[in-house]
């Protein structure tokens, strides 16, 4: 028992380094895309690693570290989002934006980015997981804690909104 306890933490520490290096950039960007705030994203990623490392010894499938990390980031982002009351402010912002009939120039990534920020949080999360993280519907559903059907529907709606806005721009 004693020997196992001695070797355990060391093995864990070195694998932590590896796990961090392997996942950090991707995790940081995921957090940034979900929050659109770099500083918040930095803090959130640290928090997420800390949480997952803390439970690492008890995770049932060590090979799915990335999936645990994703799920933790999505959860933390959801909480941060809610705490900041972004949803309400977003609604305000959205109605203002609609009122002034924005230019919708999908020629630039910036405009698409801006449109993405206007999507409801869950739709945005589904889009980021599917098209940035390249997760399958199944994996995205796991990360979001919902059904695959729900992910499909969220993505559908988000794409619908984005396309509609793009068409509005063209016409």
């Amino acid at each position: 028992v004693h020997a196992r306890e001695m070797s355990g933490p060391q093995a864990r520490t070195s694998s932590m380094e590896e796990l961090y290096t392997a996942n950090a950039q991707r995790a940081g960007r995921l957090a940034y895309f979900l929050l659109s705030d770099r500083e918040l994203a930095q803090d959130l990623v640290q928090e997420a690693f800390l949480k997952v490392f803390a439970r690492w010894g008890n995770l049932r499938e060590p090979q799915s570290f990335a999936a645990y990390l994703n799920r933790t980031i999505v959860n933390l982002a959801r909480k941060a989002h809610r705490r900041r009351g972004i949803e309400r402010r977003y609604l305000d912002k959205q109605s203002r934006l609609e009122a002034v009939a924005p230019e919708r120039d999908y020629g630039t990534a910036e405009e698409l980015w801006r449109q993405l920020q206007l999507l409801p949080q869950r739709q945005k999360t589904a889009i980021v997981l599917r098209f940035y993280e390249d997760l399958s519907e199944h994996q995205a559903a796991e990360a979001m804690g919902c059904s695959e059907k729900a992910v499909a529907s969220l993505v559908q709606r988000a794409l619908g909104t984005l396309r509609e806005n793009a068409r509005a721009e063209v016409s």
């Binding site: 957090a31 803390a54 049932r60 499938e61 809610r82 990534a109 529907s153």
Partner: protein, 617 residues
Amino acid sequence: MERELRRMFEIKEAEMTVPPTLPHELRNRIGRQRMVMGGLVAAAAMALVIGGFAGARSLSSDDALPPVSADSKDSPFVDTWATTDVDGSFQTMVVRASGEGAYEIVVRDDSASVCSGAPSTMTGTGRLDSAKELVIASPVLTCDDGSDPEALSGPPLEEQLRDLTFVHDPESDTLTDNFDLVWERAGGGPTVSPFVDTWTTTDVDGRTRTMVIRASGEDAYEITVQNHLALLCSGVPSTLTGTGQPLGSKLVIPSPEITCDDGSKPNVEDDPLFLEEALRSLTFEHDPESDILTNYSPLERRRVAKDGQVIYDGLTLVWSRAETENRIGDVSGWITYGHKGGIWARDLTSPGDPGERVLPDPVPGSPIAWSRDGSELLVGGDGGLFIVNSDATATQVTDFGPDDADLSPDGATVVNVVTRGCWWELDQCGTDSEKPWSAIYMTDAKGGSPRVLLAAGSRQYPQDCGTHPCARGPFRIALEGPKWSPDGSQIAYFEGMNDWGNSLRVMNSDGTDSRVVVENAETLGGGHVEGLQWSADGNRLAFTIDDGLYVVGVDGSGFRLVANDATRPYWSPDGSHIAYTRSEEGAETLEIVRLDDLQVQNFGAGGSGPWTAELQW
């Protein structure tokens, strides 16, 4: 669109970088965490590995240590504890002393992976292994949905749970179990539930949806959610009810029910199971930091796809305590107002409810004031002032209109203002009868000839009137809005100077000793003054100037603005609130301002009117 999204992400990736290797700060935080847990892991390993020996050790510890009183409230373990798993699932644990040094635990998990995500309950009894360790020899875990719990990996669940150990850290006052979960005191108990209150959320169409959560026995809560526009009920209002139990910061309602207020069945495309499924385990989560409740509402929006399939979209609803914008606790009584030819009354304890028509017959005007006992109402219209009884019989008091008239509190005398003449082109006013004239008259309520109580004088304005006729000589002033004080001893009124200022004055009811309460441009300005009202105790006056609602002491003290966009103010019977009509884009609503903190509550469509504590109609 997908390609464009991927390209956008590629471009935006560059905007965000994190340290490429494990940052020191993070390493330190992990280190600190591990140090705490290292000891616990060792302790847990002991408990797990030594296994059967634990019981024997426990007995010998009991011998060695001072006996722990079985029902001692001082035991650090006896309490409700809570922890959050890494996947965000929430667990609560109640530890009770069950006598003779034994402890009973009940652990509830709102989403247990060993139950494929269904809630679980784990129970067990155990003993203190030392003052700091509670060991539960063989906890039993059951899935709330009746399925068999199954370990996802490793030895059977039973074995993994054996000798579940909780270690108390006196410094942080937390428990750590042998799965490294840290438990914090959930505190509270039923008396400080964060859930029990009236909550509101804004509906998709901007209206307010209200939810009432009540405690209904030990650890159980009853919820009622009123939805004025329920898609499931084809747009008629619906009511959702259910009971549930708290799980830490969550309140879970296992099977809520929706009924349509018109008695029809909720329409879910002939699939009742779908509704049941969608509503199952309705969960409200309380965020202590912002003190809001959130819940995911799966059937919030409904649309029909091209193929005719009906699709429901979910929405996360954010609920805030009703008191912040909809405080009702300290407002009661009735407001009466004229509407659609009748007299309507609104119960102020039910904001949002429509008024109730208390006098259906055509009445000759709008309410002005209640008699003290609430059995008679003074109304005024084009035909004059009338006293209306609860049986709808009316007695005409005067043929003066309601503007600038008031009935004495004893009902015996009417004061009113008569103003006539040409005011604006003084040099062109011809005969004396055309000269401006304003006076307050007093008339016996039973009839008789009016007599002049106070005739307006004239005044030379100090300001430069420019080319206005006032520049050419003394200006006649107009009297407005006389109102009896509640004890009948005084009459308050305005001396109107139109664009050049106003003064609010009080005189004895015999017309003597007129004195200024507040006056001149600084305070009353040149605005339009209206709606003068005495507070019930006779110490304060309320009125509006150009839609600003002001309050002032009869002695002139404490002049202040208490609300905007307000007309027709009426005091609450206890003088703590003022009701008024708010007009916005042609729509009138009833609003009430609380004077101590100027908090405003809107009661929805309607208007203000005299406010009575008791409605005897």
